[in-house]
């Protein structure tokens, strides 16, 4: 069994707001395997963004153990964490976050700048990566000369130019129309299949989540459903929250627990359990 790209064990994150402790994550355990395709779903305020920041090494947990690329992040300095992000993680954001007044190829090359790679090599690698996302003809266009879908593809190229182990995409289709969003999603899936980069997709769009191999549902700072548990017989943390948080999901989980175990046809393809689990995190 290969070591997970990211592993969180009982991770909590509490914010201090005006002296009041606000728990955003309350003991989350999960592992992202190399090459995995995970959808992280949940309503706003469920802690999925906080979890993504932790998984991406942008933030550190207040409790629990988190390792990224085999390194325990709690002991790393801000600079070491930055280097770890550069080497292990690629980010795609809802708002693209491209540098304005900077060409597509320079935007893509940005992470390589912090690796001390020469300008020529940076350009070569960035241009090759833009070719892979279908923008080989738009190297020197600036973000304001590109459509939304093209901008997000530039951002995807930027995330992958460092050849990371994990690609974290935070609502990557959120700012795009349906057709464009679908194209971007297909691109992410193709890259996931081709290059073996693990894809973690944060989304509240059920159609998007339905396509993932594995779905993790969150609510009130905890994981309430993880379809990986069904496939690998992993213990899934039960929804300990208020009873109204999950309507059909517990039944799905209990069915899974009492069911035939391994070999259930619910795993990667989005079968019945996945569908109910998905419905479970819908807003009432």
């Amino acid at each position: 069994m290969t070591a997970p790209a990211i592993e969180a064990v009982d991770v909590s994150r509490t914010y201090q707001l005006d002296g009041v402790s606000v728990p955003a994550l309350r003991g989350v355990s999960l592992a992202v395997a190399p090459g995995d395709y995970v959808a992280l779903v949940g309503p706003s305020g469920s802690g999925k963004s906080t979890l993504m920041h932790l998984l991406g090494g942008l933030d550190r947990p207040t409790a629990g153990r988190l390792s990224i690329g085999g390194r325990d992040v709690t002991s790393l300095s801000a600079a070491e964490l930055a280097t770890l992000r550069n080497e292990t993680i690629g980010f795609v954001f809802q708002a693209f976050h491209l540098l304005p007044r900077t060409s597509a190829v320079d935007n893509v090359a940005l992470p390589l700048v912090y690796r001390g790679i020469s300008a020529r090599q940076r350009r070569d690698r960035a241009a090759a990566m833009l070719g892979r996302v279908g923008l080989g003809h738009r190297l020197d266009h600036r973000p304001n000369q590109l459509s939304g879908g093209e901008q997000q593809r530039v951002a995807i190229a930027r995330a992958l130019v460092t050849d990371p182990a994990v690609l974290l995409a935070d609502e990557p289709t959120g700012n795009l129309d349906t057709a464009t969003g679908a194209t971007v999603l297909e691109l992410l899936e193709r890259l996931n299949a081709e290059s073996g980069v693990a894809l973690v997709l944060v989304t509240h769009d059920n159609d998007v989540a339905a396509r993932a191999r594995r779905r993790i549902a969150m609510r009130d700072g905890i994981v309430v459903a993880d379809s990986a548990g069904e496939r690998h017989d992993r213990p899934v943390r039960d929804a300990g929250g208020p009873p109204d948080t999950l309507v059909p999901a517990p039944s799905a989980e209990s069915r899974s627990a009492s069911g035939s175990g391994p070999g259930r046809p619910s795993g990667g393809t989005g079968g019945a359990a996945g569908a109910t689990g998905r419905r479970g995190v819908d807003e009432p």
Binding site: H53, G56, L58, D59, A78, A79, A82, T83, R85, N86, E87, F91, F93, H97, L99, R101, T102, L110, P111, V113, Y114, R115, G116, A119, R158, T162
Partner: protein, 394 residues
């Protein structure tokens, strides 16, 4: 991140906000330019004064009664022409000893008159001081020996009394006594605000008779040996002290005069530079202010850079370089402006200005330093930004 890359990023950032960058630089430009200009004027003035003092003649030793301290009243001179002979014996060459007995007097020629300094001197004056004639001849030994009433006019006096004819051979009256003009000095210009061309030289013997006195005011010696000039001064002072018990004498070298003047003018230049430095400081505060604005504006960019692997130090260096670039470009522009203005001032006005390399180096160093000092706080702030918060900012 490589430094070259950081420079490029900083330059891009400045280019993105051209007007704001230019206005921020303006503070530094004005500060640096004023430092360069004021130091140039101070240095130029100092050089000019030094030239004039040196123009008096090299190896010069001035012997005067009393002590040459600031604030001490000039003593009434007990020196006479006999003392001059003694000094000449100490020096070993009478031609190297000049004297003066000076007084302000009205010099007339026909209906014109001029109030000038009338100096009784020996014929040795041109061999001690550097004085050139434009017309006629200087006093001779026999003029002095026979108290002949002949006069050599300074350029200003000659111009005032004889604006339209050759003064040589003409008559002038000094305090009512007639003198014949035998020569005119070449113009010297002003020194420390004194018109050095406004003087009349007559034989010391004639001057003493004119003023009804035996005294002379001071003795000037051109030392034969530059190395032993101070020793010679000591010997002269000792000898005169023996002849006039109870009176103190001073022998001042040109070097000492230059030293005192140089100190005063150096302080003046320093004060001017400090005042100009304050404006440079104000410019630096402007840079700091703009950098803080820039950090706030580009919070999202900072967040993104951090997300893709920029360490706090990378971000800090980027913003620090931006500040340094602002002040350095401002500094270079200010230097160019300062040098140009200083040269223009020197060319079109009587104010002397000399641009020195050290003032340029200092001005540039200080402006770059201002960038560092005033860029550190914004840069640290940028470096410490939490990437999560920064990415979320609008």
């Amino acid at each position: 991140m490589r430094l070259a890359e950081a420079w490029r990023v900083a330059l891009d950032a400045l280019r993105a906000n051209r007007l704001r960058s230019a206005l921020t630089m303006l503070g530094v430009i004005i500060g640096v330019a004023s430092v360069v200009i004021l130091v140039a004027i101070g240095t130029g003035t100092k050089q000019k004064v030094e030239q004039q003092v040196e123009g008096l003649g090299s190896n010069l030793l001035l012997v005067v009664p009393g002590r040459l301290d600031v604030g001490s009243a000039p003593a009434l001179s007990p020196l006479t022409l006999d003392d001059v002979d003694v000094v000449a014996r100490v020096v070993g060459d009478p031609d190297r000893v000049a004297v003066t007995v000076a007084s302000g007097a009205t010099v007339r020629a026909g209906s014109r008159s001029d109030f000038s300094t009338v100096q009784g001197v020996l014929e040795t004056t041109p061999s001690v001081f550097t004085r050139e004639l434009s017309r006629g001849r200087y006093l001779t030994g026999s003029d002095v020996d026979t108290s002949r009433r002949v006069a050599v006019l300074g350029a200003s006096v000659a111009r005032a009394l004889f604006p339209d004819r050759d003064p040589v051979g003409q008559q002038v009256t000094v305090s009512g006594v007639r003198f014949r003009v035998i020569g005119v000095f070449a113009p010297l210009g002003q020194s420390l605000g004194v018109d050095r061309d406004d003087e009349v030289h007559v034989p010391v013997t004639a001057a003493q008779r004119l003023y009804g006195t035996q005294r002379i005011d001071g003795i000037a010696v051109k030392a034969p040996d530059r190395e032993r000039i101070e020793e010679l001064g000591d010997r002269i002072v000792r000898e005169l002290g023996r002849r006039h018990p109870g009176t103190e004498f001073s022998a001042v070298t040109q070097k000492q005069i230059l030293g005192v003047l140089g100190d005063i003018l150096g302080i003046l230049t320093g004060v001017l530079a400090a005042i100009a430095g304050i404006s440079l400081l104000v410019g630096g505060v402007g840079v700091s202010n703009i950098m803080l604005v820039s950090v706030r504006e580009r919070t999202r960019e900072i967040g993104l850079r951090k997300a893709v692997g920029a360490r706090p130090r990378d971000i800090g260096v980027q913003f620090l370089l931006e500040a340094v670039l602002l002040t350095s470009i401002g500094g270079l522009t200010g230097m160019a402006l300062g040098v140009g203005t200083a040269l223009a001032v020197a060319a079109v006005s009587p104010v002397p200005a000399a641009v020195t390399w050290w003032s340029l180096a200092l001005a540039f160093g200080v402006s770059a330093g201002v960038g560092i000092v005033f860029g550190v706080v914004p840069a640290q702030r940028a470096g410490r930004l939490d990437p999560v918060v920064a990415l979320r900012s609008e």
